[in-house]
């Protein structure tokens, strides 16, 4: 499914946080390309800058310098309302803590991106019910998040990330709150429903057990990408044929 059309291009991206007493450089000149149809995993120790990088890629954090283009758009150059619109239309989010609105049921949670994009609530909820079918939760559309298991909540979050057909999905530790088996099921689902020829996925994870789902893995350390490698076939439950080599 992967082609070489770049979905995300980061060139020399630098981001520094000012904590008052000191400055912390979270990203120290990141160069990264994610291609359309690709599932890229960002891995590395805590505090290495993974979350900062996907925040920049997702357009919810501005870098201090460098270039970040997502589907050809230089996010830093977009005005705030343009950036919001771009995010609303082109980016889907899956969070570590699911971040479902606890007072909305599953279908209503899934419908949020459509409502943000201007669709009427009733129509959006109807469409959401169909997407919930896709992730195997058709019968739980009316359930509140508190009535769902962790795995089911993450499936609702995946449905929410997919419903508006975004071109880029960013996932932050999507399996870290789940047990191994549930985590594998969630990743299988994500790979099955989210990866296609027109979309790219960037997943931040610590969970080595899911590395095999990636097309490529970018290893980060201390605000830099130290290595990008193809995923190993033995570790890749979703692939049958894959070479493994360092590319940087």
């Amino acid at each position: 499914m992967r082609d070489n059309t770049p979905a995300v291009v980061c060139q020399n991206v630098v981001k520094t946080y000012d904590t008052g007493s000191q400055q912390i450089t979270a990203l120290q000149g990141i160069d990264l390309e994610v291609h359309v149809g690709e599932l890229m995993m960002l891995v590395g120790p805590s505090g290495c800058g993974k979350t900062t990088l996907i925040s920049v890629i997702a357009g919810i954090l501005d870098q201090d310098s460098g270039l970040c283009r997502v589907f050809g758009e230089d996010l830093l150059k977009l005005k705030n309302d343009q950036k919001l619109k771009f995010r609303a239309q082109n980016i889907g989010f899956v969070f570590q803590a699911y971040n479902l609105l606890p007072t909305l049921n599953a279908a209503e949670n899934v419908s949020i991106p459509l409502i943000i994009n201007g669709m009427k609530r009733r129509e959006a909820v109807r469409k959401a019910a169909a997407v919930l079918e896709q992730v195997g939760l058709g019968d739980r559309a009316d359930a509140l998040p508190s009535q769902l298991s962790g795995g089911q909540q993450q499936r609702v979050a995946i449905a929410r990330a997919l419903i508006h057909s975004p071109r880029l999905i960013v996932c932050d530790e999507p399996t870290s709150a789940l047990d191994h088996e549930t985590g594998m099921h969630v990743l299988e689902l994500l790979k099955a429903v989210a990866v296609d020829h027109s979309r790219a996925l960037v997943i931040v994870t610590h969970d080595a057990r899911i590395f095999g789902f990636a097309d490529r893995i970018a290893q980060m350390d201390d605000g830099k990408i130290v290595r990008v490698q193809q995923s190993q076939p033995s570790n890749n439950p979703g692939r049958t044929e894959q070479g493994t080599h360092d590319v940087t």
């Binding site: 979350t51 900062t52 996907i54 925040s55 997702a58 919810i60 954090l61 309302d81 919001l84 619109k85 771009f86 995010r87 609303a88 239309q89 980016i91 989010f93 969070f95 570590q96 803590a97 971040n99 609105l101 606890p102 007072t103 909305l104 209503e108 949020i112 991106p113 409502i115 943000i116 994009n117 609530r121 932050d172 530790e173 870290s176 709150a177």
Partner: protein, 386 residues
């Protein structure tokens, strides 16, 4: 997004009720205490309201309020009658007198002497007897509250209830007999003393001897006469003070405002109520927003603009504000209704609704502004923090 805002608000019933109750409390305090205050202050001029017919009250220039009677010479009545534009002018006596009761005790009463010919200035309603019965020998009218309580006869049996005065009962006013010929309904006065009505000339007999006894001259303007001009003319011609009914009410009201601790005491209550209500409601609403900050962050990350989030918060604030305001005002109205025939003063004009509405709006706007600021400053990247 409005649906999401409302669901966020009402989803947590406990917090939702907490915010609504805080605003209800604030609204209740902001209406109930001022309503009692206004009711109390309205009593200060209730006698002026009861004497509804005259356009103008004429009195000694030193009079500061309705009970601050500074008697004038009887001849002032004729001078007032001589002013151009005066339709009619009648005397009114108002003073305090001690009534000797059946059991030999004394009770201070307000004695009102009405013009013998016209009986202008009489009570607003008669419960028994007729106003004209005042023309009977030694006749007096007694207000119903006084008749039932302070002027009531001692019980016939031990530990029995006092027996209200009725028509035919007698009182002793300054060593003179007074026969009750009617029971009247009057608006409660500030001092809550019994009110006794009689004719002007009989009142002068009851009243302690003084050189001057005319308390007020009540004036009706001729048809088409400009009241303000006539008031001015009476003052210029007679050297007395002349006020329209509303001016005299305001004079009395302002005297009590300036010279008693009532406004300060009630002001403190209302201010404290406002502050406590604002603190409870504002803090609860702000906490509600803080607890939902991550959810606002999620919406922001997914592309919701600050303007839409602002609208969501305002909608939440308007909703809880409206419900809290409605409940608070409703409770105040219920309180007033329940207390309608008691000694408690209560006045609930529309201006008070506006005042409390503005107060609750201020609380909501304040709480919403705090919350909005927090949400606008919110970095959507917060959603990636586990």
């Amino acid at each position: 997004m409005n649906y999401i805002a409302l669901t966020m608000l009402m989803g947590d019933r406990g917090k939702y009720l907490g915010i609504v109750m805080g605003l209800t409390f604030a609204s209740l305090i902001m209406t109930q205490q001022p309503a009692i205050f206004l009711g109390l202050m309205a009593r200060s001029y209730s006698f002026v309201s009861d004497v509804g017919l005259p356009d103008i009250w004429v009195m000694d220039p030193k009079v500061q309020f309705i009970d601050d009677v500074k008697p004038m010479q009887d001849t002032e009545l004729y001078r007032v009658r001589g002013v151009a534009g005066v339709g009619w002018a009648v005397p009114l006596y108002k003073g305090l007198i001690k009534a000797r009761l059946y059991d030999g005790t004394f009770q201070t009463c307000n004695l009102i002497g009405l013009d013998d010919a016209t009986l202008i200035g009489g009570p607003p309603a008669m419960l028994s007897g007729k106003l004209e019965d005042l023309r009977r020998s030694d006749g007096v009218l007694v207000d119903v509250e006084g008749a039932k309580t302070k002027l009531a006869k001692v019980p016939q049996i031990k530990d029995g209830k006092p027996v209200p005065l009725t028509i035919g009962d007698t009182l002793e006013l300054n060593d003179r007999r007074a026969i009750v010929v009617g029971i009247a309904k009057t608006t409660r006065t500030f001092q809550s003393q019994p009110v006794i009505y009689t004719t002007y000339n009989r009142a002068l007999l009851y009243a302690p001897k003084e050189r001057k006894l005319l308390s007020f001259v009540l004036v009706k303007a001729k048809a088409g006469q400009n009241i303000a001009e006539l008031t001015h003319r009476i003052e210029e011609t007679t050297g007395l003070a002349a006020y329209t009914q509303e001016e005299f009410k305001a004079l009395t009201y302002n005297y009590f405002l300036k010279n008693t601790g009532i406004p300060i005491n009630f002001g403190i209550s209302v201010t404290l109520g406002f502050i406590v209500g604002a603190a409870i409601a504002g803090q609860t609403f702000y906490n509600f927003t803080l607890e939902n900050l991550r959810q606002f962050g999620v919406l922001k990350a997914m592309g919701t603009s600050n303007w839409v989030l602002l609208r969501m918060i305002l909608l939440q604030a308007v909703l809880v504000g409206s419900i809290g305001y409605g409940m608070g005002v409703g409770l105040t109205a219920l309180f007033g209704y329940a207390m309608r025939d008691t000694i408690l003063a209560f006045k609930f004009p529309w201006q008070l609704l506006v005042f409390s509405g503005m107060g609750v709006s201020m609380i909501c706007v304040f709480a919403a502004l705090l919350s909005i600021r927090k949400v606008i400053m919110l970095e959507p990247a917060v959603v990636f923090k586990g």
